[in-house]
């Protein structure tokens, strides 16, 4: 091997050696003929300590680290004549002689024809790079741990969510199964949850309810709305109220239970308990004895109550037919107060015994100066009943000109006051009553057929008292109670004989006659019990104990005699005579006219 090469300038050797020493690089040169490496120049300190190889001594590969041995065992392009090629081994770590470690890196290169091997101990720069990689990897590991923790938390939360959804589904299924009608209201009173049963009661879909205020969602009348508002504003944890009428797709009666939501202050849980069936049963129970002011629980009257309810639902004209004293006006009132017009006026007018001009004025009103005595503008009963119900009693008695005017009102829904030309719109439901057989009146020509058809769209036929005798004790006790309250008398009841007499009487004046008889009896009664002797003589005298259920209609002569007798007893006072007979004053007048009994 040559000791010096022209590629090295001898003058620079001292400087060159010092630089290599400071850079911690050992320079070895490879002999051409053998894979033998000799140190060139001054080796750095670490080399002297770990290898101890002196200048120009051949490197013993067996003493080298396995990494370097492996590196030198392979061919390198840098030594194969590839110009400018420099090939680095990459760092490796090995033990030093002080028991520590050092990281080295070999570089193969050629300068001219000389093949050099530089072995560098990597120092501060390498350690810095290692620290950066270390930190980067630690950060990546930490992030992986965080990500894993997030994934675990997510999985746990998803599981909880799923479980919560399952619980919610179960709760909903349970609510559905149990038929619980429950709603949840938020702090603003908006509905945030509604069970299917509650939607059924409200007659709404979930879309129509969720997110809406209960005020919009609850189909209840205004007076109930005020009560619901009150109960929702209440402070206690549990409040109940009702029943309220829910006018949903189906009319229902509900009791409301309001609970404070234990999980969220301000939210409220509303449970609707459907009490419709109970309400209906209670109503039916009440109606066993009475309906509005009507008293009676006979099958005939129960049918009448049902008919009244049905008629009340529609807004047509109704004709009530029944004998005198059967309670036609009470039926008219019941229809009105069961109908949607119940908050509007109910006006009753008796059409019997009035001239056509008076009746026309009464019904349609008049303008000042329309006739003598018309000193002011006056509205008629149709206008007074606007929005409500006008009850026209004894409609069979109205004169033909009024029939024509009435027909026009029913057709056009407008009236014209006497003396005026301008018609006025009215919204009135007409309920008419008669004891006549109007069909026969039509045949006789005393009643307009077209008016009959117009007023008889719906009809209620009231049974006479003789056809519902089972109601007599109930009615008698009811009247007794009323009369005692009015008069201040204390009467405990009636003797069996009294009751038997009442049951066997024919009652041509029907309920009105019974009421008069009871008034008579209360006045006459001296003890705590009404005895037969207290009853009016026509009852005690006319009772047919042997055949109580047989009613023989009076002949015209008989009735005429009865009317005259009553007039005589009442000393010509027709009101008193009518009362004695148990008929209305109007009926009494009418019968006087019909039987040609001249007024005294």
């Amino acid at each position: 091997m040559n000791s010096r090469n022209s590629d090295f300038v001898p003058a620079d050797d001292p400087l060159f050696n010092r630089v290599l020493s400071m850079l911690d690089i050992a320079v070895l040169e490879r002999a051409d003929e053998a894979n033998e490496f000799r140190l060139r120049g001054l080796p750095p300190e670490w080399w002297r300590q770990s290898v101890g190889l002196a200048d120009r001594t051949a490197l013993d590969l067996k003493q080298c680290s396995p990494f370097l041995q492996d590196y030198l065992a392979h061919a390198h392009p840098a030594w194969e004549g590839e110009p400018g090629a420099i090939e680095k081994s990459g760092p490796w770590t090995e033990s030093d002689r002080q028991g520590g470690t050092m990281t080295l890196e070999a570089t193969a290169l050629s300068i001219g024809s000389r093949k050099l091997l530089l072995i560098e101990r990597l120092g501060a720069g390498f350690q810095q790079m290692q620290a950066i990689v270390q930190r980067a990897r630690e950060k990546m590991l930490a992030e992986e741990v965080t990500m894993k923790s997030h994934r675990k938390a997510e999985t746990r939360l998803m599981g909880q969510l799923e479980a919560s959804e399952r619980t919610k589904d179960d709760a909903l299924a349970l609510l559905q199964y149990l038929g619980v009608a429950a709603l949840v209201l938020d702090e603003q009173g908006s509905i945030t949850f509604a069970s299917e049963r509650s939607l059924e009661i409200l007659g709404r879909t979930a879309e129509q309810v969720i997110g809406r205020s209960w005020e919009q969602a609850f189909p209840i009348p205004e007076e109930d709305r005020v009560k619901v508002r009150h109960i929702l504003d209440g402070g206690s944890d549990r409040r109940t109220s009702g029943p309220f009428c829910m006018e949903g797709a189906r009319l229902s009666w509900v009791e409301m239970e309001v609970h404070r939501d234990p999980r969220h202050q301000g939210r409220q849980i509303v449970v609707l308990n459907d009490r419709t069936e109970l309400h209906t049963l209670r109503q039916a129970l009440n109606e066993q004895a009475s309906f509005h002011d009507l008293v009676g629980k006979s099958p005939a009257m129960l049918r009448v109550y049902q008919l009244v309810r049905e008629v009340a639902r529609v807004d047509t004209t109704v004709l009530i037919e029944g004998e005198t004293g059967t309670g036609k006006e009470l039926i008219a009132r019941a229809i009105h107060f069961s109908s949607a017009r119940k908050r509007k006026p109910f006006i009753a007018a008796n059409c019997a015994g009035l001239t056509d001009s008076i009746l026309t004025s009464q019904l349609f009103g008049h303008k000042r100066g329309a006739f003598t005595g018309a000193v002011n503008d006056q509205q008629g009963l149709f206008e007074a009943a606007d929005g409500g119900t006008l009850f026209l009693d004894e409609i069979g008695d109205i004169p033909p000109p009024v029939q024509t005017a009435l027909l026009r009102v029913l057709q056009e829904k407008e009236i014209t006051r006497l003396g005026e030309a301008r018609p006025r719109k009215v919204d009135v439901r007409v309920v008419a009553a008669t004891h006549h057989n109007l069909s026969e009146d039509v045949v006789r020509g005393s009643f307009r057929a077209d008016l009959l058809y117009r007023i008889r769209i719906a009809r209620v036929q009231l049974p006479p008292l003789r056809e519902r005798r089972e109601d007599i004790p109930l009615l008698a006790h009811s009247f007794l109670s009323q009369i005692c309250t009015t008069t201040g008398k204390t009467i405990d009841g009636m003797s069996p004989d009294t009751l038997r007499l009442l049951m066997s009487h024919a009652w041509p004046g029907n309920v009105r006659e019974l009421k008069s008889a009871m008034e008579f009896a209360v006045i006459s009664c001296k003890g705590k019990e009404i005895l037969p002797v207290d009853l009016p003589p026509e009852i005690t005298g006319n009772s047919v104990a042997s055949s109580p259920s047989v009613w023989i209609p009076l002949t015209e002569q008989d009735e005429k005699a009865r009317l005259l007798a009553a007039l005589s007893e009442a000393k010509g006072n027709r009101t008193e005579a009518a009362k004695r007979l148990g008929v209305s004053r109007a009926t009494f007048y009418r019968r006087l006219v019909e039987l040609n009994i001249p007024p005294r």
């Binding site: 396995p66 990459g90 490796w92």
Partner: protein
Amino acid sequence: MMQKKVCMLGGFAVGKTSLVRRFVSNVFSDHYHTTIGVTVEKKNVTVGPQDVMLVLWDLYGEDEFQRVRESYLRGSSGYILVMDGTRKATLDTAISLQETAVRTIGAVPFVSIINKADVRPEWEIDEPAIERLRERGWPVLFGSAKLGQGVEELFALLATQMISAPVLPRD
């Protein structure tokens, strides 16, 4: 004595250095110290009647910062693929490295180990994934450098395979 170069391959922080240190020096440190470059260790083992010196090349872990130099693999008689059971991504790295090894040094013997068996409940590498590795023909061991579990078996198995494997020239 017969020498066999064995490369330790795997993603970073899977426990390659820990397995080597447990095997060579029977020590373990919980502190993670990343390997840059290569550290070479030697250990003699006996396979049947034969003593073999395993020259263990503990290579740096492969990740986005460092790619394994194929030149390090040259001359290897076998290699060990290390995975971290708690990190599923290390399985993909092992598969990628195995493909590199086959491409570089051919079908030399290798053994894979899923490390960190001491925290088995936290493993992300599940049974179906392990089954898929076995279906690829991988010998899969479970071990823990921390506990020393499966370490001796790992190197013994590879040594046995290397001794019994026919020496096939690389094409």
